[in-house]
């Protein structure tokens, strides 16, 4: 992103945030698997697959834009 300043790309920070949030949401989804929250469509276990999606995307962004690679 930045040739002049060699700043860590913003995409790396996006990856870190998605990865952390993905792990938290995935784990909380698994924890309530047998007792889903009282939300509509809770039987679909949205936190589990949404958390997994965030983990995959976050890992991808972190790997692709890891600071040492971008310099």
């Amino acid at each position: 992103m930045s040739e002049k300043h060699h700043i860590i790309p913003v995409w790396f920070f996006v990856g870190v945030l998605l990865l952390i949030y993905g792990v938290l949401i995935f784990v909380s989804g698994l924890a309530e698997w047998s007792h889903p929250s009282a939300t509509v469509e809770a039987q679909l276990h949205a936190p589990v697959w949404w958390g997994a999606l965030l983990v995959v995307l976050g890992s991808l962004y972190c790997t692709l834009f890891w600071p040492s690679k971008s310099r």
């Binding site: 945030l17 949030y21 938290l24 309530e32 939300t39 679909l44 936190p47 949404w50």
Partner: protein, 567 residues
């Protein structure tokens, strides 16, 4: 609303679990860390105010669209979608896409080639100090007032949705924004806007997905809306606009096409410095041209997470929401539809993500306001009128102080709005007074080299005065609504459309008339500022896939297809 339901309305819309709170806290920690990390790079004026002019088209494009994707916007437009139906999507499609493409292909080269740092800066180069000072002063005052209004609105939403103390919300959010913007300037603001973009999408996208699963798809949702609200059309965009009385907004299609699409949207997306500043940070002309066009594709998709939840609210919510001004204690307002839908589908973890997206949206909005204020104050008011020849580091220091002072004034405004609630509507209306005439002034200045210095200033002034006059008359006596908005049925949004149209036309007519009787500026002073005197690279030798014009055309084709689908 059903009386039985009123009995179990909670004191707050949602309750957060430990994991939800952890998600919010992690966001606050990360933005402060990023702010301190970026401080070392914001050393010169160009770094602090324009993010070093080294952003790629993607980063500038996402920040550009994200600067307009604040939480007030999300909550408000989801509420509008509940109230008016899919017609609210006009503000995302015809009310944005043509203007973004126009900014990228036609106007951005002039902003960029002239090396201006702001929209008032362009007016200074094109017309001289009078038009620039009028634009800069009004922008600075309005931006800081808007920042206060946003801050107050955020605190109220956090109180209603989460039960947070209003003073705690105000102080925590403004302190965080103050730290990261004063440290990293526009670098920080843009980084956080990109983060916010991802948070909003991942925080809100589950609502339409789970909503459509619950209703059995689009057709199921439409059937449920017809069942819940028989005889009303909430799912067509153009069909109900053949007359003022046939749609809930009270608007005719001419108001949407000419008032919204041709004037208000063009004015906002091409001359509001808050959004244009993001594109000025692009690393070269091609990136600056591509950034708004990239943004236009994302903007086109936003109705999925804003308008669709509002429509789904009509289909699935057991209670009927009411206008904010008519809500009795225990009743839900239109603007509550998004938090209600969030609470309906999102349990622990996902709820925290959705709430963080809202908080991020509010904070990015505040950061956008104060960073734009700091730039306009420092470069367009302080430097030309107070201290002309100071070293660059002095202006950077002024920018940092402006950020802090701007936030303190915003907090003051927020507390003022807390005491005088009606002030909020007026401040929001005030902002609209300047946008439409400014578009006329900037566009004429770029396209017609004959326009003189005094014509630019007087045209802008006449447009602003006419806009204020129309607004005041319509507020004082509703009979003026049929005069200016062409129908007594016109609601607030429709009135604003026609007000924008007439004020822009007033600006154009006065500018042309004054131009014809005044002396033009010599050509050599206008090189790089006016279409006929500027060489704009056309990228004939660039691969067609990399040409902004190709992507701009594709965005317009996609817009037309969407209109046909939802006609």
């Amino acid at each position: 609303m059903m009386p039985a339901l009123a009995l179990f309305i909670p004191e707050r819309l949602v309750h957060m679990s430990a994991v939800d709170i952890a998600i919010v806290v992690i966001y606050f920690a990360l933005v402060i860390v990023i702010g301190f990390y970026l401080k070392r790079f914001a050393t010169t004026g160009e770094d602090f105010f324009l993010a070093g002019r080294e952003m790629t088209a993607w980063v500038a494009g996402l920040a550009f669209v994200s600067a307009n994707l604040g939480s007030l916007e999300l909550l408000g437009w989801a509420g509008n979608a509940y109230q008016y139906g899919i017609m609210a999507a006009h503000w995302y499609w015809i009310g944005a896409i043509p203007a973004m493409v126009f900014l990228g292909l036609v106007m951005m080269p002039f902003y960029y080639i002239s090396k201006t740092h702001s929209v008032p800066g362009y007016l200074q180069l094109r017309y001289g100090p009078e038009a620039s000072a009028l634009s800069a002063l009004t922008f600075a005052v309005m931006t800081i007032l808007m920042s206060g209004v946003n801050m107050y609105a955020m605190a109220v939403v956090m109180q209603v949705v989460l039960g947070w103390n209003i003073h705690f919300s105000l102080i925590t959010s403004s302190l965080t924004v103050g730290i990261y913007v004063a440290a990293g300037g526009l670098f920080s603001a843009i980084f956080n806007e990109v983060l916010q973009f991802f948070l909003i999408w991942f925080g809100a996208l589950l609502i339409p997905i789970l909503g459509l699963i619950e209703t059995g798809g689009w057709n199921g949702m439409v059937a449920r809306i017809h069942q819940n609200f028989p005889g009303q059309d909430f799912t067509h965009m153009w069909g109900p606009m053949h007359s003022f009385s046939s749609n809930p907004m009270g608007i005719h299609w001419t108001g949407i096409v000419f008032g919204l699409g041709a004037v208000q949207a063009m004015g906002y997306w091409t001359t509001d410095f808050l959004v244009v500043q993001r594109v000025l940070s692009a690393k070269n002309v091609r990136s600056a041209k591509l950034a708004p066009i990239i943004g236009s594709f994302f903007k086109m998709a936003v109705p999925l997470i804003v308008i669709l939840p509002g429509l789904l609210g009509r289909a699935v919510l057991p209670m009927h929401l009411v206008p904010g001004s008519e809500a009795l204690p225990g009743q839900y307002k239109y603007d509550d539809v998004l938090p209600l839908m969030l609470a309906r589908y999102c349990g622990p973890g996902l709820l925290g993500l959705g709430i963080t997206a809202l908080v991020a949206g509010f904070m990015a909005g505040m950061a956008g306001n104060v960073s734009a204020f700091a730039t306009v104050w420092t470069y367009d008011l302080y430097r030309p009128f107070i201290r002309k020849d100071a070293p660059d580091r002095h202006y950077v220091s002024m920018g940092r102080w402006c950020t802090i002072i701007g936030l303190i004034v915003s907090i003051g405004t927020a507390y003022l709005v807390m005491r005088f609630a009606s002030m909020m509507d007026y401040v929001q209306a005030l902002f609209g007074f300047f946008i439409a005439p400014l578009f006329g002034t900037v566009l004429l200045g770029m396209m017609w080299k004959r326009v003189s210095r005094s014509a630019g200033f007087l045209g802008l002034l006449a447009g602003v005065v006419s806009s204020v006059t129309m607004f005041t008359l319509m507020k004082l006596d509703t009979r003026w609504v049929s005069v200016f908005a062409l129908s007594p049925m016109a609601k607030g949004l429709a009135q604003a459309m026609y007000q924008a149209l007439w004020s822009c036309l007033t600006c154009v007519v006065v500018t042309v008339l004054v131009t014809l009787v005044t002396k033009p500026r010599p050509d050599e002073e206008l090189r790089g500022l006016v279409y006929s005197l500027t060489d704009v690279a056309q990228e004939e030798h660039t691969n067609w896939l990399h040409r902004p014009v190709v992507w701009g055309a594709l965005a317009l084709v996609a817009l037309v297809v969407l209109q046909i689908i939802f006609w």
